[in-house]
């Protein structure tokens, strides 16, 4: 095992561990903050796989904005701090079993499909190379995705305004 693989393993364990802690935490704020650790560890994994642009976008967008949005939404809708603020229903065991089954199923599919393969012609994930890939090979999905995001944005505005008298 090379040094890179060892560090990757460490990051992966951190990511999975903090995800578990996030799900089982009794307090909502703690759950959100464990999520930050998970996303940060995933960004670390990206860096180790030389996808540095994606790593910093992950930090900037996910950690910097999405988690802040999640916490903001929590603050607006319910009291997120204090013990037992993360309401757990009786379905959590069913959810845990389903989650484990989904994880095992996905993992098995990945290993069966890609196990033992080596990636050919891997490019270093700098901004330039990603820009090349996006605008040469993947331009159509890129444009469709931006259309989907625009639709989501407009839909959110419409839904949030439909409650008020206009």
């Amino acid at each position: 095992m090379t040094l890179t693989e060892i560090v990757f393993l460490v990051f992966a364990v951190i990511a999975v561990g903090s995800a578990l802690l996030s799900m089982t935490s009794g307090q909502l704020v703690h759950a959100a903050l464990w999520l930050v650790v998970t996303l940060g560890a995933v960004a670390g994994c990206f860096v180790l796989m030389t996808a540095e642009f994606v790593a910093w976008v992950q930090v900037l967008v996910y950690v910097g904005s999405v988690v802040v949005l999640v916490i903001f939404a929590l603050m607006l809708t319910r009291q997120p701090s204090g013990a037992r603020s993360a309401e757990v229903t009786g379905n959590r065991w069913v959810a845990a079993v389903l989650g484990a089954a989904a994880a095992i199923g996905l993992g098995a599919t990945m290993v069966a499909g890609f196990g033992g393969e080596q990636i050919e012609g891997r490019r270093i994930g700098t901004a330039g190379s990603i820009g090349d890939a996006l605008f040469n090979d993947w331009v159509l999905p890129f444009e469709i995705l931006s259309g989907v995001l625009l639709a989501a944005l407009i839909g959110a505005i419409v839904i949030s305004r439909s409650g008020s008298d206009r």
Binding site: V29, V36, F53, L60, G64, I71, M75, A127
Partner: protein, 322 residues
Amino acid sequence: MGELLDAVLRCLIVLGAFLTLPLLVGQMEHKAMAHMQSRVGPMAAGGFHGWAQLVADGIKFVQKESITPAAADRRVFELAPAVALVPYLVAMLAIPLGPFFGQTNLIGQDLDLGLFFVLAAMSVGVLGTLMGGLGSGNKYSYIGGMRVAAQLMSYELPMVLAAASVAMAAGTLSLVGIAQEWEPWWLLTQLPGLVVFFVAGLAELQRPPFDAPLADAELVMGPLTEYGGMRFAMFLLAEYAGIVVLAALTTVLFLGGWAGPWSDHLGWVWSLLKIVAVSFLVIWARVAYPRLREDQVNALAWKVLVPVALAQVTLTTVLVVA
């Protein structure tokens, strides 16, 4: 071995700059703000016009008790200052100062994605104040935390867009590359971007006139209400380190970094002078303008800065392609 030593030395120099430059900015704020208000500021500490005031403040903070409120979320409360402070140290690693007497750039590490790295690091710092607001077990902190979340999220977009405009004009995301590609006429074509970046940066740092989250007439001290002693000093250091990072970023992106006469020997001097000038602007804005209300803050971000930033990006695209 030589590389490891080099890396350690660079980290130590960046740490030294991180600990001293914010203090210099803080002292300048004491004195400049005082004279702008027709008074003299601290005069006693250190004998000569109170130069050692912040040293005295540091000693005062160190010897104070750090209290954790009973209703506070202990872990979150205690970690918040560190989460607010460390990202600025990390961001400083990637900002270049300029050539140092003929040698290569004074920089922690020249990253290809330097600009993105610095912006990402700054956006993590937001979580620190948010954690402080949520974890304090205090209504004022809670409301302050909500204001922090709304404000910092709103202003990240114009900041990233303005920075992206410069990156487009330079054709690279590396901060060294951007400073090297800079042309004097960019002062004119990137002027809206400069204004947007500076204003959005002020709001990201929660500096007056954008300190609605910390409004001390309304919220005691917002998310920082329950903090005292060394933890409060960490938050204060984070604010001034943020000013230094913002000034450094503005300098490198929009003001040409180390451009000036004899820049291959004295480039770092020009950089530092520009950083001091931008920090002075930050302090000047604090003294001259009243605090914006919370709705005004959000309206400014979404209705003014985002359209101007988008217009700037369009303008830059036209200029680059043409």
